[in-house]
Amino acid sequence: MHRTTMDLWVGLFVIAGIGALLILALKVGNLGTYSEAQSYTLIGYFENVGGLKIRAPVKSAGVVVGRVKDIQFSTKTFDAAVTMKIDNRYQFPKDTFASILTSGLLGAQYIGLAAGGDEGMLKSGDKIMKTNSALVLEEMIGRFLFDKASEDGDGGDGGTF
C-alpha cells in the first residue's frame, strides 16, 4: 500500500474515533446541557431524604436548575445535609422552600424549589431555611392507619353524645 493512502486512512480513523468520543460527550452525555463551572452551592437540611441520590436534579417549576452534589448526615442537627449546585443563571429569594418530591409513581426523587417573596437572594454557601422531607411510604401508611383509628374512635364518642 502506498504511503500517502495509508496516512489518509489512519487520519480518517483517528478523526472518526475522536468524533465518536465528541458525539458521546455532547449528544449522549450531559456535558453539553449542564456545566458545573458556572454554579453556586446551597445547603438544605432535611429530616429525611428518602431515596434521594447524588446527581439527582434540582427543579423549580419543573425546570432543571441544578444537581444534588453531596448528601451527608449531620451529627450536629441529626439531619441530612444536602449540598446542591445551582446554575448561576437562576437566583432564588431567601425564603425559598425546598422539598423532596418524586417524579411519577415509581420515578426517581428530586428536589423541588418553590420561590418565596423575600427581597434578598440566596448566595453561594447559604442554607435553605424551609425544607420539607421526602414522603416515606411506611410513615404515610402508619399515619393513615392512626388517623383512621382515631376517626373511628371520635365517631363512636359522637354517637354517645
Binding site: 495509508m6 489512519v10 474515533g17 475522536i18 458521546l24 449522549v28 446541557t33 441520590k53
Partner: protein
Amino acid sequence: MPRRIVIGIRGVGHRVIDSIWRLGYAARFFTLTLLKSGTSMRRFSLIIRELYFTGVLTMIIILVSGLFVGMVLGLQGYETLQKYGAETAVGTLVALSLVRELGPVVAALLFASRAGSAITAEIGLMKATEQLDAMGMMAVDPIARVVAPRFWAGVISMPLLAAIFSAMGIFGGYLVAVVLIGVDEGSFWSQMQSSVDFRFDIVNGVIKTCFFGVAVTAIAVFEGYDAQPTAEGVSAATTRTVVTSALVILGLDFVLTSFMFRGVG
C-alpha cells in the same frame, strides 16, 4: 502408590514454577518494550503503518457489530420496557449499557480476535523465519523496530475503536427504537442525556478501554515474541493470544467496574 502421588505433586509444582517463570518473563518483556518505545516514537511513521493494520482494518468489524449490538439492545430493551410503559427509557438503557460495559468489552474482544491474533501471527512468523534474528545481526533491535510500534498502535487505536463502537451502537438503538418502532425522538435523547454523566460514565468507559488496549496488545506481542519458531508453535501462540486476552478483558472489566461504579446511582 506413594511414588505416583509424588510424581503427581511434582507435576503440579513444575507447572506452577513454569507459569510463574513465564509471567516474570512477560513482565520483563513488557518493561523492555516500554523502555525501548522512545526509539519507535521518534520514527512515528512506523506506528502509523501499524495503526493502519490494527486500527483501520479493524474498524469495519467494529462498525458493523456496534450497529447490530445497538439494534438488538434497542429491540430487547423496548420489549421489556414497554410492559411498564417506560419505552422512552430505551435510550437510557442503550446508552448506559454501551458506554459503561458493552462498548469497551465487546470492542476489546473483537480487537483481540481481529488485531491481536494478527499481531501474534506476524511476530511469531517473523521469529520462525528468523527475521528477528537477522535484525539482531544487523544491530537493529527487534523490540524497538517490531514490537514497540505494534504495541503503541494497539494502545492508541483501542479507545478510538471502542468510542466508534459505542457511538455506532447508540445510532443502531436510535434506528430501531425511534425510526422503526416509533418511540418519541425528543424523550429518547433527553432521557439519555439526563442519565448519562460525562465524568462517571463516558470518562470511566474510556479509562477502561485504555486498560484493555494495553492488556490485549501486551499479550499479543508477548505471545508472538515467545512463540515456538514452528508452524504449530505460531498457531498455538495465536490461539493463546485470543483465549488469554478474552479472559483478561473480562476479569479486568470486573475489577475496574467494582472500583469505578460503586455507589454511583
